[in-house]
């Protein structure tokens, strides 16, 4: 087994969970994470020397999912205009309650919650990544927890 195989086995599933938590589509998460690993493999000799190759794969997967989500949103917006009637995204039956609750959060709060509670980034690391003050991240997390409490209480 090569070190890439070990790297893949160690991190694929967790990366899928992280992407799924933010974007809400498990199959899409699996697809983009697999694609990100393919791209990692294509440059593995260089990537394996990085301090944090997992972060590289995560960011690739995240941006792939963002691109696909934007295209889907644009396509859905086009369909809505064509139909001239409201089209509402119903919660998927296979989405766990937390993912549904996260989907209701503003993007910045949702991102902070996933990065802190799933990726285990500290407040300082999230602040640096997002280009904001640590107090802002703490506020996002506080409001995120409050919003989750409300959402989860509705679903019981």
């Amino acid at each position: 087994m090569t070190d890439f195989d070990e790297f893949y086995a160690a991190h694929y599933a967790d990366l899928v969970v992280q992407i799924y938590a933010y974007f809400g589509d498990r199959q899409e998460a699996q697809d983009v994470v697999q694609e990100a690993f393919c791209r990692a493999l294509a440059r593995w000799r260089r990537l394996s020397a990085y301090d944090d190759p997992v972060a590289w794969v995560r960011r690739v997967a995240w941006n792939l999912a963002t691109s696909r989500w934007r295209r889907a949103r644009t396509a859905l917006g086009f369909l809505r205009r064509q139909r001239e009637e409201p089209v509402v995204d119903a919660p998927g039956l296979d989405r766990v309650a937390l993912v549904n609750a996260l989907a209701a959060l503003p993007p910045a709060q949702r991102r902070a919650m996933v990065l802190h509670y799933l990726v285990d980034l500290s407040v300082a690391e999230i602040a640096q990544r997002e280009g904001v003050a640590e107090g802002t991240v703490k506020s996002w997390l506080y409001r995120g927890r409050a919003a989750l409490a409300e959402q989860l209480s509705r679903t019981g």
Binding site: Y8, A13, A21, W56, V60, N63
Partner: protein, 206 residues
């Protein structure tokens, strides 16, 4: 009295842990072997492509660690070749100088941001080419947060390269390339499947 209107940090962690366990149960790993087959297939396809048009689509890759230009990995990588034919002499090598390539099916975002992590002691010139296919213009901004450079960007058919360079003099951890498009931007995907590509340039390249 405990705050009943919000989840505690521990309760939140517990909820995420439950979600993680439930999701892990449903995940089926395609496997590293599947990734190898995909990469092999793409390399074979690239080998069959016309010489000089070996570009690879990566939808928004991020997180590349750049070394200081003095020992830059980019310095040893050949630039991508577009629109040229050398009769197949170069074979199937994929250019590794590219950093990001983005495909769009509808329209560009008004502003696009690409971030790169810098290794310690990263002072020196950083040079990139913004390659855009379609029509329209924009402004590229390359910044560490403390030092900034801007350059105009033009799109065209065939794709147009617009250079931008930033001399990083102090300690910096991140490099951000931001492109603000002018109204009316119309990207069009090349036959290779991208409309915007960011390429790292060797310091001696023009």
């Amino acid at each position: 009295m405990p705050d009943l209107t919000t989840l505690s940090d521990d309760d939140t962690r517990a909820e995420f842990a439950r979600m993680r366990e439930a999701t892990l149960y449903e995940i089926h790993l395609p496997g590293a072997a599947a990734a190898r087959r995909t990469v092999s297939r793409r390399r074979h396809r690239a080998a069959m492509a016309s010489a000089g048009l070996a570009v690879v689509v990566v939808a928004g890759a991020i997180g590349v660690a750049l070394t200081p230009p003095g020992q830059s990995q980019l310095a040893s990588l050949p630039p991508p070749v577009m629109g040229q034919s050398d009769g197949g002499a170069t074979g199937s090598a994929l250019p590794e100088g590219w950093l990001y390539a983005v495909a769009r099916e509808n329209a560009a975002e008004p502003t696009e941001v690409f971030e790169m992590a810098l290794k310690p002691d990263a002072a020196g010139p950083y040079r990139f080419k913004v390659v855009c296919s379609g029509s329209g213009t924009g402004v590229a901004t390359l910044t560490t947060g403390k030092e900034t450079a801007t350059a105009p960007v033009t799109c065209g058919t065939p794709p147009v390269s617009s250079p931008i360079q930033l001399d990083v003099t102090g300690n910096a951890e991140r490099l951000e390339l931001r492109i603000a498009w002018d109204p009316g931007i119309k990207p069009s995907d090349t036959p290779e499947g991208w409309s915007l590509m960011i390429v790292g340039m060797d310091k001696n390249e023009s």
